[in-house]
């Protein structure tokens, strides 16, 4: 099954997402911030990353640029409590943007969608 890397500084979010996504059959890895993200990706080899934006020790939008410059086609879904970051030009580099909710239907839908995306490579 595809592997999802969850990058979020809130422990309860990591637990909630991990539990729900594992129930869906995904393999899950977690990280509490974006530091050392490139090494983490090399190690975990995720198929998709769920990335928080407002984290205590890192800015998810900067982490996204780091990821995109090295892993051009790796799907990244920005997942934030705030919809307002969608207006930030940096968010364009994400595959999708989801506003956090206790109902993970939208997030799961986006994960499925980015995983089935096929483009000329």
């Amino acid at each position: 099954m595809p592997k999802v890397l969850i990058v979020d500084d809130e422990k309860h979010i990591r637990l909630l997402y991990a539990e729900e996504l594992e129930e869906e059959g995904y393999e899950v890895a977690v990280a509490s911030d974006g530091s050392g993200i490139l090494e983490r990706i090399e190690k975990e080899k995720p198929d998709v990353i769920i990335l928080d934006i407002k984290m205590v020790s890192s800015n998810g939008l900067d982490v996204l640029q780091e990821i995109r410059n090295k892993f051009y086609n790796l799907p990244v879904i920005l997942c934030s409590a705030y919809g307002s970051y969608k207006v930030d030009i940096k968010s364009i580099a994400a595959d999708a943007y989801v506003v956090k909710s206790s109902d993970l239907t939208e997030l799961k839908k986006k994960i499925a969608q980015v995983l089935e995306t096929t483009v000329p490579i």
């Binding site: 410059n69 086609n73 969608k86 096929t118 483009v119």
Partner: protein, 405 residues
């Protein structure tokens, strides 16, 4: 095609080339030339750079205006197509030749009529190439009614067909690697429309289908060049751009037929301070409505033979709407474009006529976009456009099915 060349500094090698395609831009070319030279001097001083005016043998003294501009020590070259040979694409082709001859690692193409370019544009369009991106498309701040061909056709169609989100696929200002220049130049897909205004969508489409890493460079300022009324912008450029898109759909059928949804590109160019707001653009809704209605009345018989039954019923319904309630539902617009592409591919109608019948519907779509977004901020309009692209992506099975029938 042989070209005329003036190379006073005897340049035979360069790391970075800036090219300015032009035709009769004597009154405009000095400004982008000087800004580009400052960009090369300020941000790439360790590289060997050259600036080249790629011209169509302008008769208004464009070449002289270019040569007379203070280039701040950057060597200048002038190349031109022979007299009588016109076309932006021909100028770009000459530039690509020079990029290969000079063995350049990177090239930047900018419009000759730019009034808002700063030296930073050169940095942001060229630097990603030195970070291994093969093609760099511009990201401007644009008014929601600026670039209606881009918003209603080029962006949603390119994105939904080939799966890469390039927001300004016909922006006109690009960066590319020397290797990409070679791919473009050796392509067997050059034709008359590409040699004219089809060149921009052609380069973007080829780059996307090559699967090379693409970057969008944020330029921080609006693109201001020659003023244009969106109501009147349909003409040669529209025709050549649409025909080029439809031609390439035939060439890259295997690619788009297997493409599903879309992916982003990398973004470059942050931290450039305050972003300048784009100038307001006035749109005449009355003119758009009249042009739609006239076209609908003139081409109704053709529409009936061209479009699917579900679409034709909707188009008739839309034509009965008054101006204030006028709306072209996005699924209908997506299917109109898809039906036209299929008609072009299957030659069910003379290809020139096909573009004629599309134009009024494009005016209708533009009016619909204006009605939908007139109360929206720039950002809200962008989100509306993103939703529009999603509808195109969702509607793609309609195209795939009907294309193969």
């Amino acid at each position: 095609m042989k070209f005329q060349e003036d190379n006073p500094s005897g340049i035979t090698k360069a790391d970075l080339v800036v090219g300015i395609p032009s035709y009769n831009e004597a009154s405009n070319i000095a400004y982008p030339t000087e800004q580009a030279c400052l960009g090369l001097k300020d941000y790439f001083k360790d590289l060997d750079s050259v600036i080249i005016n790629c011209d169509n043998s302008s008769t208004d003294g464009t070449g002289k205006a270019f040569r007379d501009t203070d280039s701040h020590g950057i060597p200048q070259m002038y190349v031109s197509t022979p007299r009588g040979i016109r076309g932006r694409g021909n100028n770009v082709k000459n530039l690509l030749r020079k990029v290969l001859e000079l063995d350049a690692k990177a090239a930047v193409i900018i419009d000759a009529s730019l009034k808002s370019i700063t030296p930073l544009w050169i940095k942001n369009l060229a630097e990603p190439v030195f970070k291994d991106f093969a093609f760099v498309a511009p990201l401007y701040v644009r008014h929601k009614y600026d670039g209606t061909i881009t918003n209603n056709i080029a962006y949603p169609l390119t994105r939904s067909l080939y799966g890469r989100r390039v927001r300004q696929p016909i922006g006109g200002d690009f960066g590319l690697s020397g290797k990409m220049a070679g791919i473009f130049l050796k392509s067997p897909l050059w034709d008359e429309d590409v040699s004219q205004f089809g060149i921009d969508i052609w380069m973007t489409t080829i780059a996307v289908n090559e699967g090379v890493p693409i970057c969008q460079a944020f330029l921080g300022k609006p693109k201001i060049s020659k003023p244009r009324d969106p109501t009147l912008e349909v003409g040669t450029m529209f025709r050549q751009m649409v025909i080029t898109m439809f031609n390439l759909m035939g060439v890259f059928h295997d690619k788009w037929a297997t493409t599903k949804w879309s992916k982003p590109t990398a973004i470059f160019g942050f931290g450039i301070g305050d972003v300048e707001a784009p100038p307001a653009i006035k749109v005449s809704k009355d003119k758009l409505y009249i042009k739609f209605r006239e076209g609908f009345n003139n081409h109704w018989d053709v529409y009936r033979s061209m479009f699917s039954s579900e679409n034709i019923q909707k188009i008739r319904e839309i034509a009965s709407l008054d101006i204030d309630h006028f709306e072209m539902p996005i699924p209908v617009w997506a299917r109109v474009l898809f039906d036209c592409a299929i008609g072009y591919h299957k030659k069910t109608l003379d290809r020139g006529k096909l573009i004629d019948i599309l134009v009024p519907l494009y005016y209708g779509m533009t009016l619909s976009f204006v009605n939908k977004t007139e109360g929206m901020s720039h950002q809200q309009a962008e989100e509306y456009l993103e939703d529009m692209c999603l509808v195109f992506e969702q509607s793609k099975p309609y195209l795939t099915y009907r294309w193969s029938q």
